[in-house]
Amino acid sequence: MGANDPIYTTTEPGSDLLVSAVTSALRLSLLDRSGGGLLANPVVASGFIGRDAFMKALAAQVVSISWGADKFVTTAEGTNFTIYDLASDKSTVTPVRKGFARQISDMMRSFDSMSALQWANFVREGTWAWQQTVVSVMAALFPSFSATGGNSGGNATWGAIVADYLAMGQANVPGPYVLVMRPKDWANVAQDAYALGGRVAQSAQTDQFLQASNPGFKGVFMGGDLWIYTSDELSASGGDTISGMFGMGAIDWTARMPAPSPATRPLFWSPLWGVETDREALKSDDVIAYSTHLGASIGINAAGRQLPFVT
């Protein structure tokens, strides 16, 4: 990464694109753009608080009620039944404004013979950036799960993952679960599988580890009860990186955008994020601004576990 320059003919990537135009050679750099896969998971999607449920206040409160927590108790004739409290808990989701911008000059656009900087690319970038941002915000919640598993100071192994998967069930968390870990942790687990010859007695699922190591969805394991994703967005703590395993109700989140105002010049506008342009005529520049209002909170804390593995 260099300094935060606008896209001019004299700054990267503009200057490089002008040279590349002779050969018309262009490609994407290496980055984690896999966030969309995780957001499409039903466990994650179930925690989304939609616009209709979140209209009149700056913060949304989600209440968890402990229906069924109490059992029938023996009570002698002529004696009142005990009146119990109906236990509940709540989480508060507060969206905040998030975004960033790019700036591009008319000069650069007039020399963009490869259409590398066409408006559609900015729109596509907005989608990737929004997805990665949501994943990053969710991953920042993992250290706030009380239950800790994993293997602090050690590498990720399939044994550690299975132990935590079983612990989730013991905590009465209904499946399926989602596990988000780093590509490096996944690679360690895959190396286990290679060393084991790709198959372990009673665990044929290790065959599925022998897949490409690029970020994103890795597969469904434990008979469809565990969905595994990798991401570069995880946070570190004390020499470990914190992966997270969670079920429905663990994370509540929301993202929202209002309808564009009459002055907005949208390139792309959705109820979740928007991409708009603004003209700086005196500079002959266009600014492309990406924006959203995003918030996430732990819902039911016991529905998730943090899995520290060595960074």
Binding site: M1, G2, A3, N4, D5, P6, T11, A59, T92, V93, T94, P95, V96, R97, K98, Q103, V137, A140, L141, P143, S144, S146, A147, T148, G149, N151, S152, G153, G154, N155, T157, G159, A160, V162, A163, Q191, D192, A195, L196, G197, V200, D232, S235, A236, S237, G238, G239, I242, L294, G295, A296, S297, I298, N301, Q306, P308, V310, T311
Partner: protein, 226 residues
């Protein structure tokens, strides 16, 4: 920019200052290839325990103060997330001005704020990390080292803070049993995978005394062994 690799480092640092000079010209290629992030603090969780050389110690957890997270508003007021950690989770905040050992020296405070440049409009950008993490920039790569000995010492100091009582024996036993179960599981796979035997030995060594005698993890260590 992701962490690229770690390596062992045996020398104390030249100094504890890691705030870099700000480049006045935004066009100059001076931005450190680290991502902008938010400040954090460590919290002591009475149920988050790790065995260090056979002795159970608290394992503090780092929580960033990120707007939008756990009710934190745009101005990054930490009240909401601090309230969640303290009141809901029963965690105890570790004072940010605590004296700690890092890279062979005693320093006050465990948060380092690194200037990573400015944006086009002059807005200052920062990357926050703890004192046991050291980033070295080589061209466009960042090599990251971690002072495990210093952090282990921090874990021990946290256990002695006021407001933090003795570790509950049930918690300690449960963690011990969890690690032992994992070690046993890996040992069972050792016949098919020699690597599993190494993992089992490393896990068992956490519980049984000097971890330096067991196969080590990939984490670097600094300073001399005790």
């Amino acid at each position: 920019m992701p962490v690229t690799d770690t390596r062992q480092h045996d020398e104390a640092p030249a100094g504890d200052s890691v705030v870099l000079d700000i480049k006045p010209d935004a066009r100059e290629r001076g931005r450190i290839p680290l991502p902008e992030n938010r400040p954090f603090r460590y919290w002591a969780d009475p149920t988050r325990v790790k065995h260090i050389k056979g002795k159970p110690e608290l394992l503090p957890v780092k929580v960033h103060v990120e707007p939008g997270l756990q009710g934190t508003p745009s101005d990054a007021d930490p009240t909401f997330i601090d309230g969640y950690q303290a009141n809901k989770l029963g965690r105890v905040p570790v004072p940010m001005d605590m004296e700690v050992q890092a890279w062979g020296t005693t320093v006050k405070g465990y948060v380092i704020r690194k200037d990573i440049g400015r944006d086009r409009l002059g807005k200052q950008l920062y990357h926050y990390h703890d004192v046991w993490t050291r980033h070295t920039v080589f061209g466009r790569r960042v090599v990251t080292e971690f002072d495990q000995d210093g952090f282990d010492d921090f874990c021990k100091r946290v256990g002695k803070l006021p407001g933090i009582g003795e570790l509950h024996p049930v918690i300690v036993d449960a963690e011990r049993a969890r690690v032992q179960r994992m070690a046993d599981e890996h040992q069972r796979m050792a016949a098919q995978s020699p690597g599993s035997a190494q993992v089992a030995a490393q896990l068992a060594a956490q519980l049984e005394g000097d971890a330096d005698e067991a196969p080590t993890s990939s984490r670097g260590r600094s300073g001399k062994k005790a």
